[in-house]
């Protein structure tokens, strides 16, 4: 698992207050992890802080699963980070 993926999963576990081992790649935030739309926005804010990114609202709507978040962040990291 990449360093980025570990950090993403840790943020998810912390913000949704769930055990890290429940944060599986295929888990969907709303259906599987008990998040609501507000919690997802809050999570995206935490990703933006952690990775110094700006995630547009249109992308936020597409981040449904843990893997979606990892993929988006990995492909948008500033050069030299991660």
């Amino acid at each position: 698992m990449s360093d980025t993926e570990q950090r993403v999963r840790a943020i998810i576990a912390k913000h949704l207050e769930i055990d890290l081992d429940k944060v599986k790649s295929e888990a969907a935030f709303i259906e599987d992890l008990g998040a609501d739309s507000l919690a997802i926005v809050e999570l995206v804010l935490a990703f933006e802080e952690e990775f110094d990114l700006d995630i547009p609202d249109s992308e936020t709507e597409r981040i449904r699963t843990v893997q979606d978040a990892v993929d988006f962040i990995s492909s948008h990291l500033p050069r030299g980070n991660g």
């Binding site: 207050e17 008990g34 507000l38 926005v41 804010l45 802080e49």
Partner: protein, 413 residues
Amino acid sequence: MRRVVVTGLGLVTPLGPSLDASWTALVDAQSGVGPITLFDATAYRTRFAAEVKGFSAEPFVAHRKLKELDRYSQFAVAAAVMAWRDAGLADDLPESVRNHIGAIVGVGIGGLDTIERHHRTLLEKGPNRVSPYFVPAAISNMAAGQVAMRLGLRGINYCTTSACASGAHAVGEAFRLVQRGASDVMLAGGAEAAITPLGVAGFNAMLALSTRNDEPLRASRPWDRGRDGFVMGEGAGILVLEARDHALARGARIWAEVVGYGATDDAHHVTQPAPEGEGAQRAMAEALRDGAIDPARVGYINAHGTSTPQGDVQETRAIRAVFGAHAHRLAVSSTKSMTGHLLGAAGGVEAAFTALALHHETLPPTINLDDPDPACDLDYVPHRARRAAVDVALTNSFGFGGTNVTLALARHG
């Protein structure tokens, strides 16, 4: 019209995080005032307040939900759950019943701490970093909304906002709804948590707060010559109001009956009371008229009594004007001498104290009344609680904007 009784009480106050702790400390003449610990108040003219101590929201709100609730809503939910249990209401009432149970929770300001924290984020990090929980946590009706979600109350739900009369308006309006048969059961009261950097600075700027920093326990001293302003408090007080026939049918314990509600406005000044407490006079008179109460039956008034130089005199004059010679036979006390001023929560907390005073036949004292102001010449139950069986008691709450509320409660059974 249906008769309305109080069957449940829940309190989170500076005297304790429960009904029993608050009432025990109250009749023991304890003060809930101390140095401000919620933020660094070193630079403030007033560095003390009546904070809620020993409170944890977690028995009442799931940890992961806490970020949805400002401190004021956490107090409200805790008090509401305690009131619900105190009333002996079941956790599994059918939907058809819960459709007719509502909640009105008054708050003077709302989620002030939430507003301040998120505003800091806005200034430091920009508009795109403001949390989606800011608005839901900050808005003033969310205490009522959270109470509804926690207890599954599907009837009418809103907040009253009328400064320091907010909680009293909530109880009064809920009383009307049950009287009229719109609801069988209502949860009503107030909540507030405004001991924040901006909140204290704002009241300090108005010169409304006591600055007796060397003696905080003696700072809230209604009717005393040395009073120099109120002491900020925080917390929540929620009552379960219930149609009397409904309460009797389920064998509920009844704390007191709500018998009258009077609400007026001074139409005079943003913060100063009208001369002779004119609007307060009409609120008390209206509560008596509303309940067809002979003034001679009133044995106790839980006063607004904030410990401000003007307000205490005007309330005293208003009581004299309404009751004439009887004003000197009834007892008046200010529980704010012990709790501080809970602003929008005060009306709920003090309605609960008034119900308890009737039920326990014990009048809470006014502490710190060492040297009564000659302009304040009533029986204020100084220093120590007093045993007295009272037939009818009033509770007064007045707010900025000239708003005045009096609730009348009667001993039941």
